[in-house]
């Protein structure tokens, strides 16, 4: 009901500047920490792919439904993120334990043959991040000083 207002003094200047700036609108990565080991590479996916994460994907319940390998990927390749934290918690719930010297996750394959105050020894499954597979290690001594 008031009709159009007359343009302000710097109107055209501001609009031109805005039009130019629209070509270079900020990207999400501009305010994110860079990841040198696996740089993010945005890809356009087909429209029928889900374009958003599921709404409950920020929960422990969701992560507990993921396979251990997915959890390992999240742990090693999403460092310093909330995803890594939840993946680590989920792995612990699945009885995996992080070895702070070898930087690998271990799980008892059977009840340890020996348990002391300082270590336990027996057969373990561990996830080898270099070979990217689970492997078995017999007569392994897991020193508790390296237990995360």
């Amino acid at each position: 009901p008031l009709g159009r207002a007359p343009p302000i003094e710097d109107h055209d200047k501001h609009l031109n500047a805005l039009e130019m700036a629209l070509q270079r609108i900020p990207q999400p990565m501009d305010s994110e920490r860079p990841r040198s080991y696996l740089p993010k590479m945005p890809c356009t996916t087909p429209a029928f792919y889900p374009q958003q994460a599921p709404s409950n994907s920020d929960s422990m319940e969701y992560y507990l439904r993921l396979s251990p390998e997915t959890l390992f990927f999240t742990f090693y390749y999403m460092e310093g993120s909330r995803a890594q934290l939840i993946a680590a918690k989920a792995l612990k719930k699945l009885s995996w334990r992080f070895h702070t010297k070898y930087l690998m996750w271990f799980q008892r394959h059977e009840e340890p043959k020996q348990i002391t105050d300082d270590f336990e020894e027996g057969t373990y499954i561990y996830f080898d991040y270099e070979k990217w597979s689970q492997r078995k290690k017999e007569q392994f001594r897991f020193e508790y000083r390296y237990l995360e």
Partner: protein, 50 residues
Amino acid sequence: LGTDLTTLGLNLNLNDSRRHLYTTFGGPWADAPCRTQDLDAKVPEEYLTN
């Protein structure tokens, strides 16, 4: 008549109204909230394996 504000990509889930939107807000140009892997978290130093 304005914009349907439920189409701006913010999770306005009324059942979860106690959760803050800002913690996962992807910014004014994002069509969706941040994914879990995009959110920085303080992790134990040993987790920084790379």
